[in-house]
């Protein structure tokens, strides 16, 4: 990251910010602390907006609000790019906008009303469609009365038929047609003298007559049907017409208003960011941070656009600036999905390390060490390959599948090393033998191995912490980290000597070295240094979980195999074994992931990662929202830094 300062004549501030926004690489610093020497502090002050700028801001905010309201009324379809430059026509746009907004609001309200009416009429639709086909079939006889009903099922139809037979003998007839939903639509054709009795019967049988809107109660049944059909047709035509009008409007005016809205956004963000600029009587100053490799490009852009009137200077980063340097995570393609794990923690500080590559390297390794089953790994690999095609649009899911793919490969490798394919099934059926170690039988060696992995991982963390402390020029902390490494190795060597693996003669020199180094440890790490050392040793023992969780995973797989064998039936055994193995896979994936992550977050990162870095938020068209969200944060930060500067 480079610390930069852009300087130019005051009247060129807007154009400069516009160019900086287009380039999208500069993280603008709201405070001048660390950028301006004490000598020049009196001459440089925050840029205060004048009356004209304030009016412009209010005008643009109102315009933005209206444009947003307009787009809220329009259909969400792709709008072609406009080649009109909004600035010269913005006054015209502002005038036409009021008229168009009124028109679109009216169309939008009309569309809403029509949609609402059609939604209310929709439950008549099925009934009307069915009844009209029945009416066509039976033909209309003017002396008859028609009663429409909805029946739940054929049983209800039988009950109704019985009732009608008893009541009216042959003076009525029931027609039914099944609907797509499985219910029945019925139509009773009866002579007018019995129709009231039929209605009473329907009420007694709790089969309510199909009700029509109250406004058409005076019409006959056939008229009601015709009226509703006409009403639905008319409303659908009207809705189509309104939709077509809105689409036509979007097609015709959308590009211009979209360009105007983008321009308004740009102007507002420039006005907002100009509050973070500084000025003297003649010049403006913008301070900020940007990736070192992008500096040349922005400098060339400024030179080209302003012919040397606006210049960009790189300033040396001082030790006191290190806390304020923004941080961006940049990793090769393989490590990118693992950044999701890093984002669960606050950002690392600028002087610290990006933990992503470490997670990318060790997470799949620990996952494989814990799950370690070639059969499970193969299933997970197949699942990840099959689902990767459907997950491209969802970034988080796609990343998770990419991680699963790598982890499943490690699970296959360690499965072959442990000789595990669906637990002991590979051994009993296919005769697969462990290439390295059988972890079910060698519990103690696996325990030592897991702790050796922990020793290597924790020591690496401490070594990184040592380097990190040197980079921050905190020599005492660096010494404490180094001594911790030495102490851990000495302690391990001492324990091994007690077990008789190292010559017994080493005991005394090891103990003497530990005692000699103790004061140095207390000096570098303070009174809590022994506690820190104990914590580190505890962290190493914590890696025993690699063996412990792995052992439970393989035992569960063996239980699945035994239970499926006990069924004595191939199909049943396959089902039982399959279900328990499926549970084993799900538990295995979750527990392996959680414990691998925990080993990183708690045991490993604790040693070298300094959290609390500031997020790199370049001033760019894409970051408008981000800038807005950060407004309060940056203003608060700006205020705090100013306060600190005043107090110092």
């Amino acid at each position: 990251m480079s610390k930069v300062e852009i300087v130019g004549p005051r009247d060129m501030l807007g154009e400069t910010l516009s160019l900086v926004r287009k380039k999208g690489d500069l993280h603008i610093e709201p405070s001048a602390v660390g950028f301006v020497d004490d000598v020049h502090k009196r001459d440089i002050h925050s840029l205060l907006p004048n009356e004209k700028a304030l009016f412009e801001k209010i005008f643009l905010q109102q315009l933005e609000e209206k444009l947003n309201s307009l787009f809220a009324c329009l259909p969400t379809e792709a709008i072609r790019e406009s080649f009109l430059t909004p600035r010269p026509i913005i006054d015209t746009v502002s005038r036409t906008l009021d008229k168009h907004l009124g028109m679109c609001r009216s169309l939008f309200d009309n569309r809403d009303t029509l949609r609402h009416d059609l939604a209310e009429l929709s439950h008549y639709k099925i009934f009307l469609a069915t009844v009209s086909t029945m009416l066509d079939k039976i033909g209309l006889i003017p002396d008859l009365d028609y009663i429409g009903i909805s029946l739940k099922d054929e049983k209800s139809e039988d009950i109704l038929k019985e009732g009608l037979d008893c009541l009216a003998d042959a003076s009525c007839e029931l027609f039914t047609v099944p609907t797509e939903e499985g219910a029945l639509v019925g139509l009773i054709a009866a002579t007018k003298d019995v129709s009231d009795d039929i209605r009473t019967l329907l009420s007694q049988k709790q089969m309510p007559e199909f009700t029509f809107p109250e406004s058409i109660q005076s019409l006959s049944f056939v008229q009601k049907v015709e009226y509703l059909q006409k009403e639905i047709r008319e409303k659908e035509t009207a809705l189509n017409s309104v939709n077509a009008e809105l689409e036509e409007f979007t097609h015709r005016w959308g590009p211009m208003y979209r360009a105007a809205l983008d321009w308004v956004h740009e102007q507002l963000s420039i006005i907002q960011v100009s509050a973070f600029s500084f000025e003297t009587a003649m010049c403006f100053f913008i301070y900020g941070w940007m990736p070192a490799e992008k500096v040349a490009s922005l400098r060339a852009g400024l030179q080209k656009n302003f012919s040397g009137s606006v210049v960009l200077e790189e300033i040396d980063i001082r030790i006191e600036d290190l806390e304020r340097v923004p941080v961006v995570l940049q990793n090769p393609e393989y490590f990118k999905p693992f950044e999701n794990f890093t984002r669960l923690l606050p950002l690392p500080s600028y002087t610290s390390f990006d933990p992503t590559p470490f997670i990318g390297l060790f997470f799949p390794l620990f996952f494989g060490l814990i799950l370690g089953d070639a059969g499970y790994g193969l299933i997970l690999l197949l699942v990840s390959i099959m689902t990767s095609r459907f997950s491209r649009k969802k970034r988080l899911l796609h990343d998770a599948i990419r991680i699963l793919k790598v982890c499943s490969l490690y699970a296959i490798i360690f499965g072959l090393l442990y000789g595990e394919v669906f637990g002991n099934l590979g051994h009993t059926v296919l005769g697969i033998k462990p290439l390295l170690i059988d972890r079910q039988k060698n519990i103690i060696p696996m325990l030592y191995f897991a702790m050796a992995v922990g020793l290597a991982h924790v020591t690496l963390g401490l070594a990184m912490g040592f380097v990190s402390a040197l980079r921050r020029h905190t020599k005492k902390e660096a010494l404490a980290k180094l001594l911790n490494i030495i102490f851990i190795f000495l302690t391990v060597a001492l324990i091994i000597t007690f077990f008789g693996l190292f010559p017994q003669l080493l005991k005394r020199p090891l103990l003497i070295t530990i005692l000699v180094l103790c004061p140095l440890l207390l000096f570098s790490g303070g009174i809590l240094a022994p506690l820190e050392l104990l914590k580190n040793i505890g962290n190493i023992i914590s890696y025993a979980r690699i063996m412990a969780i792995g052992l439970t995973s393989v035992l569960l797989a063996n239980v699945a195999n035994q239970l499926s064998g006990l069924t004595g039936d191939f199909i049943l055994g396959l089902i039982v074994g399959g279900i328990i193995h499926l549970i084993g896979i799900i538990i295995g994936v979750f527990s392996s992931s959680i414990h691998s992550l925990r080993l990183h977050y708690v045991e490993f990162f604790d040693k070298f990662i300094e959290l609390g870095g500031r997020k790199y938020r370049p001033f760019s068209p894409n970051e408008k929202k981000g800038q807005e969200n950060d407004k309060t944060e940056t203003e608060e930060e700006h205020y705090k830094q100013e306060q600190r500067a005043h107090s110092s």
Binding site: L344, A548, Y601, V602
Partner: protein, 71 residues
């Protein structure tokens, strides 16, 4: 009798830390869930806090294994 005592010792070595871990995780988990509802960005910290007491049961497991197999 020795075997019974060894098995009992191993069971105690893993059982008591397991209960302690479960109790600690229940308390931290409940508080963590409450924190996450208000500040979802604390998920990393909550995972760490929930995971910390697990070390107890792992240490208990190591001791139990040593009692059973290494003794």
């Amino acid at each position: 009798m020795d075997k019974i005592l060894i098995a009992f010792a191993a069971a105690l070595a893993i059982g008591l830390p397991a209960i302690a871990t479960a109790w600690a995780q229940s308390k931290i988990g409940a508080a963590g869930a409450g924190s996450l509802a208000e500040k979802p960005e604390l998920s990393g910290t909550v995972i760490i806090l929930v995971a910390i007491p697990e070390t107890m049961v792992i240490l208990g497991f190591v001791v139990a294994v040593i009692i059973l197999l290494g003794g």
